[in-house]
């Protein structure tokens, strides 16, 4: 039988449960664990940590994983690839080393991948003639009104491959694009060439690697989590088994999940993860290859066993995507509830009073929003109209108020100013300060492109 490699989608986001990965390790069901920790906004969260403490700025999941998961995974010969290094892969490696050393783990190589973080290079890039045009508005970055919080380039799979070629047991990368973590593993295992002049056949292999990585990168979302396709969920989700791809050298893969765990692996669950966060399916742009997903085949071979193949590749883009986070202001929100009788009318009178109080404040609120939880909280103005007799007889209703403002003082003042409505407002209001969030940072993203030759990726190896 020809060689295959088993890769598990072990983490879907910063803060995901480690239990699914633990089970995969205990059953020794994969050769590699891929932990994706970086959603679009995660880097802004990590930047806040790093500003507080220069030794932080990585996804702290790794501290737990280094205690409970990595030693057992390494003992099985499994290798772990993650972008949890975030804004500080070197500190992440030091932290993991300390935890592993304390547990007596030795003979382990930890690789870091950096060079994606260009926050301190934004001036230099502009001086070199890069206008950093906003991909949405076409404005040059010099027009930005807000201070940057982070600036990271989506980088590709090459250094992941290199690190594995050099024997890394654990890779802690910065902003390696999610699916490129998986592509790097496959390029290492099957000797796929990532750079240079590539044939159509080679491009198709890279495209397959990206597609498989895309299916793995959200963990349980590919195996029955968050699923309308398998509604009404004839399986357990409390112990959802995460997706495992057994990949062949031709780029085809068989997707499964642990039989001992919940969830489901089906053509439907893979279809719905395939469409997730894709724009033009014939032109999915990644640092290593542009992928045409319209030719893929998904075929259920047996229960919880699904074949995936057929992605096609086009040469990689000339430029890499750079996302600059910007501090725009703050958001403050709070919840209030009313009961029968007159729940709806009371909510309207309450909102009216809040608006009047806020319009008289000596500070300015840039924008406000009022949602009726249970009526239009999720779908806003698109929510279907509710019959009057239903509104007149509601058991209860929730109100969410949210405001955007420039400074923290405004957030505090706005909430303090309406607290009096607990005694002064319509009868029976229920609210607890802890339900709301005061002064949550409001960040906007400045998406742009940079020539790849200006980005210097660096691989470092640490050994214990």
């Amino acid at each position: 039988m020809s060689k295959t490699v088993k890769i598990a989608g072990a983490q879907g986001f910063y803060g995901d449960s480690p239990m699914a990965a633990m089970n995969i390790v205990m059953e020794n069901a994969a050769n590699y664990l891929v932990h994706d920790a970086l959603a679009e906004l995660t880097l802004s969260i990590l930047q806040k940590d790093k500003l507080r403490n220069p030794e932080e700025g990585y996804a702290k999941d790794i501290e737990v994983l280094a205690k409970v998961l990595y030693p057992a995974a390494f003992a099985n010969g499994m290798r772990v690839v993650t972008n949890s290094g975030g804004l500080n892969p070197e500190s992440a490696a030091e932290r993991v080393k300390a935890i592993l050393s304390k547990a007596g783990v030795i003979g382990i190589k930890i690789a870091t991948i950096t060079g994606d973080d260009v926050l301190n290079r934004l001036g230099e890039l502009q001086e070199a003639g890069e206008e950093l045009l906003n991909m949405d508005t076409n404005l040059a970055y010099s027009n930005s009104k807000y201070p940057p919080t982070h600036a990271n380039v989506y980088i590709g799979a090459q250094k992941v491959k290199d690190a594995l070629d050099q024997g890394a047991n654990l890779i802690l990368a910065g902003r390696v694009a999610d699916p490129c973590l998986t592509l790097g593993i496959l390029a290492h295992e099957f000797g796929w060439q990532l750079e240079g002049n590539l044939s159509q056949e080679q491009l198709n292999l890279l495209a397959s690697g990206i597609a498989i990585g895309h299916l793995l990168e959200c963990g349980g979302q590919a195996s029955g989590g968050n699923s309308y396709a398998e509604w009404p969920m004839d399986y357990k989700v409390s112990n959802l088994g995460y997706p495992i791809a057994e990949v062949s050298a031709d780029g085809s893969a068989i997707f499964t999940k642990l039989a001992s765990q919940g969830g489901k692996m089906s053509r439907n669950t893979l279809r719905e993860q395939l469409v997730y966060e894709i724009h033009d399916p014939s032109h999915y742009i990644t640092p290593d290859v542009i992928v045409d997903l319209t030719s893929v085949e998904i075929k259920e071979l047996a229960p919880n066993t699904v074949l995936f193949k057929g992605a096609k590749g086009k040469p990689r883009p000339e430029k890499l995507k750079l996302t600059i986070g910007q501090m725009e202001g703050y958001i403050t929100e709070q919840f209030f509830f009313f009961s029968w009788p007159h729940a709806y009318v009371k909510s309207q009178k309450f909102i009216e009073a809040v608006k009047e109080i806020w319009s008289n404040l000596p500070v300015s609120i840039d924008r406000m929003q009022f949602d009726l939880v249970g009526i239009n909280g999720i779908h806003g103005s698109a929510a279907l109209e509710v019959p009057k007799e239903y509104l007149d007889n509601l058991n209860e209703i929730g109100i969410r108020v949210a405001i955007k403002h420039k400074d923290e003082r405004t957030g505090k003042m706005a909430i303090a100013a309406i607290t009096c409505l607990g005694l002064n407002g319509p009868p029976g209001v229920i609210s607890i300060p802890g339900w709301g969030k005061m002064n949550r940072a409001m960040l906007s993203l400045w998406p742009t492109l940079v020539p790849r030759e200006l980005i210097h990726e660096e691989l470092k190896m640490h050994e214990i």
Binding site: S44, Y228, W231, H279, L293, T294, G310, Q369, H379, L445
Partner: protein, 104 residues
């Protein structure tokens, strides 16, 4: 003429990229897919969301998985981290679209 409820013939998943929300609509079978291709236009989707989508809606056909992908620009109140909405990530754009009905 008969009236079709989208939820009876398809499922959907939505997600965010900055201020763009994409809604993948997966037909239950080939017959459903041909109905979707014929009747579930980008205009109909945009209309169904009204003011919630400020920009253009682009539809992509995805024959091998019997799916349509709707890319909705200006759909997330400026993007997840700027949005004042409860559903800041547009996770429930899928839910709202499934409520759509159309005549065939």
């Amino acid at each position: 003429m008969s009236r079709i409820k989208l939820i009876d013939i398809a499922s959907a998943r939505s997600g965010d990229k900055n201020d763009v929300c994409n809604i993948g609509v997966m037909a239950n079978d080939l017959t459903a897919y041909s109905l979707l291709k014929q009747h579930l236009t980008a205009d109909k989707v945009k209309q169904h969301f009204g003011d919630m989508i400020k920009g253009e809606v682009v539809r992509y056909e995805w024959d091998t998985i019997e799916s349509l992908n709707f890319v909705c620009h200006g759909a997330l109140d400026g993007g997840a981290s700027r949005s004042l909405r409860m559903d800041m990530l547009g996770k429930n754009f899928s839910s709202h679209l499934l409520r759509l009905e159309f005549e065939v």
